[in-house]
Amino acid sequence: MTKDVTTEVMIGNYAIARGLVEAGLELAAAYPGTPSSEIIPGIIEFNRREKGNIHAEWSVNERCALEAAFGAASAGKKAACMMKQVGLNVAFPPLLKARRKRLKGALVIVSCDDPGPQSSQTEQDTRLLATLFGIPVFDPASPKEASDVAYTALKYSAEKHIPVILRSTHRVSHAREAVQLYSPGVRPVLPMENVSAPNVMPDTSYVPAKLGIIASGMSYSIVSDVISELGLETLVPVYKVIKMPQVKSSIPGQRLNGLEQQDENLEFDKFINNMDRILVIEETDSVLEALIDNGNKVYGRLNGYVPDAGELTYDIVRDVVERISADLEIRVSNKFMPDPLIDESLKGVQFPPRPPKLCAGCAHRASFFAMRQAFPKAIFPGDIGCYTLGISQGAVDTCLDMGSSVTMASGFYDTINQDGKSIPILASVGDSTFFHACLPPLYDAVKKQKRFVLVIMDNGTTAMTGMQPTPQTGIMADGTHGGQVLMENIIEGFGVAFLRILDPFDISHMINTIKEAEAYISKNNNGPAIIIARRECLLFSKEKYTGMFDRVAFEEECIGCKRCIKLLDCPAMFFIDEKHKISVDEGLCAECGTCSIACGIIRPEKKA
């Protein structure tokens, strides 16, 4: 096709970026969120290589991202925005209106789902929302396909003048594969782009069979490998959906935008008609399953054959296919029989569990310790970020959605106050989340004098998603300088009367300040009070502050009370049962000194 085709191993998110850049993208805006965060850096990288003129930015939240991209698309540009699945909720108001607007340019909304969920508060299926509201949605099954689909989606949007959604999942976004790089504008298009032909890709012929499987996204890829492992290739055809089929009967409340007659689902219907039974494997909701207008024929979530929550792993898919094959008397030539000997042999072996923990040396750990020490019986509304892990230190009680620390603290305050009680409320939120979602809630709390203490854990970056710059840094997505917005100026502007900025590693000062804040609120009948605990993320700036304290000689003086483990949950500390003492992993310890303050016995010297 073209002389200069090269390949490069990349993750799915870079492949999406590549496809968009090749399709002529002109503007991209996103808020970082796992598993979508690497698309903007990918766009910036490929734009640099192509010496292009794409504007790419981090927005303060997903709604801003979608509106900026929609603005550009309305004005004739090819635009895209990116977010994780729960971010799409934040962008919901503009999405619902934008879907019915005829675009002069093009708009692809990339929404990355998180089956499991692995790194989100809820599972959520972008395809469900898109299908419900008649927005075309594409669902690639691999990194390689993701680049083709991203390319096709932007072209499709430009041709049809409507916004479209590209949904990925973490398994596609973070898988790695060799992807072909073309010059802009010449990538061979997928069959589905030809909208008069099938909008879905049949994997095998339509020979009538006892069982046919319909799958989309990574679930399709797993099904294919499972079918091949079990030796069912010639018996069970698999149908891959790349672009979700159209809704036939009208869903109550649904109005298609009227601008586009969606594609016919002829091939899809034909496949279904040719099979005695259909198994639908999809993540994470029942969308294709609900669209198949023949309930009795279908195996899926609704009749309990597919688990209704959680990731559809290789093992789960293999189990489902085997079970249904057995039901239908389809001969599985290479049946999987789990060997009980493996689990049996592991029973006597001890190895450390490794649940998610704040990093050794994380300043959030010191903040949570101080909060808990100041008011052990407080109510602790938490928020979304690394610091949700403060739950293991007993200093996070809630995790609802972005910004809910402030609004839930308000609700708790009124609840307690209404009942004539007084319980301290210590809320916590990170800096990026503060800018993303806390400003209207905070303004509301100030206006109504809600009495709670808010600790803003300002580590100078969006740590959990990979160190994207926050509005305070004045650094743009491509590393250039822009305007800087400081949170203390906003807080002062709102008229918050009690504001302190401190270093969380000065733990006794932080404990005293939290007590002072609570006393101020009670005395003045006024709130909220705010403490900014400011300390750069250890991973972001590790050279700058490791080794503040001499390594503590726990092994000698430890009395085995485990207080430090309970209060800090630090990954560098282990309890050695035989010795009945704490041991420190020197490779992980950052010498932050927090444990020495949590320990009532051992006091190290501060380094000169």
């Binding site: 398994r171 490998d225 923990k357 990979g466």
Partner: protein, 189 residues
């Protein structure tokens, strides 16, 4: 040809670099390959698993008892992930222990799994490259010459993937890992 490899270790110990070298070596030798990484929330010292599948596969995910090879960069992660290994598979494990617990040893021999321990931390320390135990393990693995991997093909990718002063040091650790397998007269599977 089909090959399924599980790389397991803890964050910050080079598991992802090792799996990157494996997938790129396979691709530059003309194979289709896919990789999937599993790592939790940003955390140093957390479990990291990286799956590499080479050949005619569509998904990068590996089912229980399907992996041909388990490369464990940390002993605890060997136990956590040994359920991936198929009968007749191969485990190369960075460990300081000379003997396995008896139950594990029995299970591995019943399942005909080759277990090859390597003191990769010591190998890396010998070259003053504490963080490079992954290279020692890869060097050891390369001696077994499991298609498409051998010392030459993996070395070539390391050359492309590592830059500056660490390149030569990494290769020294790699070569030492290879030499240990060679001296130990490790049986090729």
């Amino acid at each position: 040809m089909k090959l399924e490899i599980v790389c397991a270790g803890v964050g910050g110990r080079g598991v992802l670099l090792a799996s990157t070298i494996l997938i790129e070596t396979a691709i530059s030798n003309g194979h289709h390959a896919l990789a999937a990484d599993e790592y939790g929330m940003s955390q140093r010292g957390g479990s990291v698993v990286s799956l590499v599948k080479i050949g005619d596969f569509k998904s990068p995910l590996i089912g229980k008892e399907n992996a041909d090879i388990l490369l464990a960069f940390e002993e605890s992660e060997f136990y956590r992930n040994l359920g991936f290994l198929k009968k007749g598979g191969l485990a190369i494990v960075n460990t300081r222990e000379d003997v396995l617990p008896a139950e594990i040893d029995n299970m591995l021999s019943t399942r005909n799994i080759s277990y090859l321990p390597v003191k990769a931390d010591n190998v890396a320390a010998e070259k003053n490259m504490l963080q490079a135990s992954n290279m020692a393990l890869l060097g050891f693995f390369s001696y077994l010459a499991v298609e498409p991997y051998n010392a030459q093909t993996i070395r070539q990718t390391i050359r492309e993937r590592t830059r500056g002063k660490f390149l030569e040091k990494n290769l020294e650790v790699f070569d030492l890992g290879y030499a240990i397998a060679q001296d130990g007269n490790i049986r090729k599977p």
